[in-house]
């Protein structure tokens, strides 16, 4: 009775979490040898569904069929034995281990008493060659770029003989070049007969690579469509439940008499172990403009953010904020002077996950005397204010007292935005502000940044997403190997030109 056509089927899968149904009677099927995409808003239940298919969660109801046969997955190892492997959005890697060690962990070659590293290396190298997933087998994973780490994750899955590969938001953390490379890998896998199931928020990508697309909304399947017949607008509407306009208002900022720069870097250089991680960078951000930093990740963006926010001392050069020499200013002083920060890694740099929503909402302005009476916080007033703030930013949370960890990624990001923008800053420093967000949330974040610009604020935007940069920026600086290799005004920037600058590290004269 095995139905050859369907490789993997989900039938009437239901998964509840306290307070919500993450997957509600979900049914869909994946063909053998296809690339199947799953899309949906933040919190739609995509990751939950994938974790069920990979044996990590147990469904409360429903059935999984593999090649037509019902299977009950007893755990991730069992799923792997059956040929299902998953690459999680938050990589499941041991940073201190080498690539080989990460790949073979749990299914090591050799006897029980000896780890046959030579055999392991041979297998890993063979796999890497076959699927063109080049990565240094002896490198420590902590030293790898995100794209390389992802390749390690894919190798792990292939090493276990997976026929079905599940990837949760594989492109969210990749730069355009890496995305292209990943898609080549996925193509390669499909040609070798593997089945790929992946989640993405980027509808253009989905349309470009997938064969078929399943849309989830609030835990339910809205439908499955063939990529060839689908359009971006149609998908977006299915996801959100209303039409989404892919057009942004760019209200113009008021004409200012005082266009003095809010932020100015003058020949800033930062040495680390004798190497210049930032190398002679000069730039200015004026009121009412969005200055974007483009570049392949790892070219100094993180360090630049640290310099601007006060987390990294400069070796040479000057940092001026609001007209004053700010090189020696602490983070707190910069924030007090009117700088708002949206860090790139919200879990590690922006939020204290075990703390409550209201506590996270006041993080950074927690010294504000307005929150207090005498030395003590006025809890009632504080909560009222927080509730109003996050209400304006449509942060969806069961209550103010849950740990912020319980919020979906999109809502966490909106909380950060609320927290930073409600402080009435003059300068916003935003790094990867829409990473991992769905179209609705991205639309919201973008419009907030543009609204801030329209109020005369300056924005320094650091992003690996060219679409984002082109949509928002007034001027664009390209960072390569720690140097600012070019600066283009908005109307001269094209993806091609930027891409060339990013890769070449300089434009031929």
């Amino acid at each position: 009775m095995a139905d050859a056509e369907w490789m993997l089927e989900a039938r009437h899968i239901t998964k509840r979490f306290p307070g919500l149904v993450a997957n509600d009677d979900v049914s869909f099927a994946v063909r053998r040898g296809e690339i199947h995409a799953v899309v949906g808003e933040n919190g739609a239940g995509k990751s939950t569904l994938m974790k069920i298919l990979a044996g990590l969660y147990e469904p409360d109801a429903g059935e999984i069929r593999l090649e037509g046969r019902p299977v009950r997955l007893r755990g991730p190892r069992h799923a792997a034995q059956l040929g299902i492997g998953m690459v999680h959005q938050h990589f499941m890697l041991v940073p201190r281990f080498t690539v080989i060690e990460n790949v073979v962990l749990g299914s090591e070659p050799g006897s029980a008493g000896r780890l046959d590293l030579a055999a392991a290396r041979a297998r890993v190298e063979e796999l890497a060659r076959r699927y063109r997933l080049e990565v240094d087998p002896d490198a420590r994973v902590a030293d790898l770029s995100v794209g390389q780490q992802q390749r390690v994750e894919i190798l792990k899955v292939l090493y276990r003989g997976a026929q079905v590969l599940i990837l949760d938001e594989p492109t969210a953390v990749l730069v355009p070049q890496e995305v292209e490379q990943l898609f080549r890998h996925l193509e390669e896998l499909r040609q070798q007969g593997k089945t790929v199931l992946f989640i993405s928020h980027k509808l253009d990508e989905v349309l470009a690579i997938a064969d078929r697309i399943t849309v989830l909304r609030r835990g339910r399947v809205v439908g499955t469509v063939a990529a060839r017949q689908a359009t971006k607008a149609q998908l977006a509407e299915m996801m959100v439940g209303r039409p989404v306009l892919f057009r942004l208002d760019r209200p113009e900022p008021p004409a200012l008499d005082d266009p003095a720069p809010l932020l100015a870097l003058e020949e800033v250089t930062c040495l680390e172990g004798g190497r210049a991680v930032i190398d002679g960078v000069s730039l200015v951000v004026r009121p009412g403009e969005i200055y974007a930093i483009a570049g392949v990740e790892g070219n100094g963006q993180a360090e630049l953010l640290q310099v601007v926010t006060g987390l990294r001392p400069v070796t040479r050069g000057r940092v001026r904020l609001f007209g004053e020499d700010a090189a020696a200013w602490s983070v707190a002083r910069r924030r007090a002077a009117g700088m708002a920060v949206i860090p790139e890694d919200r879990h590690r740099q922006a939020l204290v996950l075990p703390m409550t929503v209201w506590e996270n909402a006041m993080l950074g302005s927690h010294r504000d005397p307005g929150w207090r009476r005498g030395p003590f916080y006025r809890l009632a007033a504080l909560r009222r204010r927080v509730a109003a703030q996050i209400g304006r930013y449509d942060v969806r949370t069961p209550s103010l007292d849950v740990p912020v960890a319980a919020l979906s990624g999109g809502n966490q990001q909106k909380l950060i935005l609320a927290r930073e923008l409600e402080r009435d800053p003059r300068l916003i420093v935003a790094a990867q502000p829409t990473r991992g967000l769905d179209v609705g949330a991205i639309e919201f974040v973008w419009s907030q940044l543009l609204a801030a610009r329209a109020r005369g604020l300056g924005v320094l935007l650091i992003s690996a997403d060219l679409e984002e940069i082109l949509a928002l920026a007034d001027r664009i600086g390209v960072l390569a190997r720690g140097r600012l290799v070019g600066e283009l005004p908005r109307d001269e920037a094209t993806p091609e030109r930027l891409g060339r600058l990013m890769l070449a590290g300089g434009e031929p004269a």
Binding site: M92, V94, R96, V104, G106, E108, R114
Partner: protein, 304 residues
């Protein structure tokens, strides 16, 4: 000049004696701290090592007097391992805070050995003489216990097991990223329990060494905080068997020096020497230590 020659010979003799004393005094801490790398690499903090060493000492005295030194050593290892199993079950299975469980283990051990001692030796605090293994004569250093050899072999074995076997790889993965290990089918609980029990067995072995080989007698409280010192040595040694062993040797040397140095400083300051030396070394040369990422945490899957 014969007189000069005489003093230099005497100096050499005392240096060798110092070296031998260093070896003797280091060994219990060394064995325990090498064992401690197993529990910590698996992600479990074990401050019950002191208690495990103590029950190891007691059990080896009892079995050693009854059946001879080998049985004594085996009993010491078993007793340390059993007590470690209690800690493992509490901390890993039932997710009790590792530190609290360790504190409770130390209390348990202190009471148990006293009860046991009354029953077995008829007195709370000390046993009769325990015969040791036949010593190995080493030129210049005198007789050394075979366990000294075992202890030093242990460093290599521990390194090999941790770095070159599937077991070691899985164990370390559980201490670094248990979720990752779990998704790859590694039984996180079992690995962590194994790490704790191994550390307890080695602490028990260290206790046996104190009784069967070094002192030939059991005395209540004879472990003298060496379990805690071993923990410090393990951290000092940056969570590696070799580092832990070197740190233990440093402690041992400092202690031996404080016993044998004839210097005119207030007596109490000699007492402090090993600890002050450690602090100075830490303050001076220590690089930032890097514990296993998930040490001290509990693990459960997200949807439970």
């Amino acid at each position: 000049m014969p007189a000069h020659e005489g003093t230099s010979v005497a100096l050499l003799a005392s240096l060798l004696a110092l070296l031998a004393a260093t070896l003797r005094l280091s060994l219990p801490v060394l064995i325990t701290s090498v064992g401690a790398t197993f529990t910590e690499l698996g992600g479990v903090v074990n401050i019950g090592l002191e208690g495990m060493m103590l029950v190891g000492a007691f059990a080896s005295a009892w079995a050693g007097i009854t059946w001879g030194p080998l049985a004594g050593i085996a009993a010491g290892i078993a007793a340390g391992g059993l007590l470690a199993l209690v800690h493992a079950v509490a901390a890993v299975r039932f997710r009790v805070d590792h530190i609290v469980s360790g504190v409770a283990i130390n209390l348990l051990a202190a009471g148990l050995v006293r009860i046991g001692s009354y029953r077995v030796f008829g007195t709370a605090t000390t046993s009769g003489r325990v015969e040791g293994l036949p010593p190995i004569p080493v030129p210049y250093l005198g007789d050394l216990s075979p366990l000294v050899v075992v202890g030093f072999l242990l460093i290599g074995v521990a390194w090999y097991v941790q770095q070159r076997t599937p077991f070691g790889l899985r164990l370390r993965a559980c201490g670094e990223n248990p979720l990752a290990a779990d998704t790859l089918g590694v039984n996180v609980e079992a690995m962590r329990v194994a790490g704790v029990v191994l550390s307890g067995m080695l602490a028990g072995l260290a206790g046996s060494y104190l009784v069967v080989e070094l002192n030939h007698v059991y005395v209540e409280g004879m472990t003298q905080g060496r379990g805690f010192v071993a923990l410090a040595a393990m951290i000092f040694g940056n969570w590696t068997p070799t580092g832990a062993a070197l740190a233990s040797l440093l402690f041992g040397a400092a202690e031996a020096l404080s016993i044998r140095a004839n210097v005119a400083i207030p007596y109490q300051f000699l007492e402090m020497v090993p600890y002050v030396v450690t602090l100075l070394v830490l303050a001076g040369v220590m690089r930032r230590s890097t514990p296993p990422a998930a040490v001290g945490t509990h693990y459960s899957r997200g949807d439970e």
